[in-house]
Symmetry: none
Subunit: 109 residues, 2 copies
DNA sequence: TTGACATGCAACCAAATAGTTGCATAATAG
DNA sequence: CTATTATGCAACTATTTGGTTGCATGTCAA
């Protein structure tokens, strides 16, 4: 069973949090202050979002002196896909993937 | 771009709505009343959830006389996976690698 | 036609959410 | 040491969310 499926879904439900994940995806290991730049809200608001992302284990953190580094953790998203989304979509996604491969192969000819 | 990415994520954020999708996945084309059975809430609460699922295009409906039939639609979930979740998964190994490096660095202190 | 059944609509309520501000604490640079 | 920087904590607020109840509408069966 997924430990905190609900936490993951709820964490992903907010566009600000998805944007934070996007930023960590582009550049991993950002500090809180770095994550606050380019976001139109207070540092404390960002902190709260990061707390939820951490609780959902979508982000893991590490202290370096007075800084807190944030790293994206893809495992929960993978689990969501494997155990929940997959049950609806697995066959379809695989079919599309195979189709894409086939078309790519065709390109090479 | 995904038309209503936010609506889909928000629709999936509630456990009652995920359970409704589960039930439609097991047996498609259920009426509102059938969906209300086995759920510990009023018919109107279920209706509201179904409205959100419909708005996110996760469920499509069809009238048959005085009944309303509900069908699961896997397309939005597929899009979420392909365009959003996939981009994290592609980098999964890379991200884990960075995390491992960071933790290792911390060890050296 | 009339009563029962299936769904729709609107007003209301409590709790959760997303945000704010102000102050506290801890680490680093000079 | 002291000032600055980076983060943490707490109280407060407005809005959204998930639920309720009551009544209305539309369809079907007897």
């Amino acid at each position: 069973m997924i430990a905190d499926e609900d936490k993951v879904f709820k964490a992903l439900a907010d566009v600000s949090r998805r944007k934070l994940l996007d930023r960590l995806h582009k550049k991993n290991g950002l500090t809180l202050n770095q994550l606050c730049e380019k976001h139109d809200m207070s540092r404390q608001a960002v902190t709260k979002h990061l707390i939820l992302l951490e609780a959902a284990k979508l982000v893991v953190t590490q202290r370096r002196g007075r800084e807190k580094l944030h790293y994206i953790n893809p495992v929960p998203i993978n689990e969501i896909y494997m155990r929940w989304i997959g049950k609806f979509e697995q066959e379809r996604v695989h079919a599309l993937h195979n189709l894409k491969l086939a078309l790519k192969e065709n390109d090479h000819e």
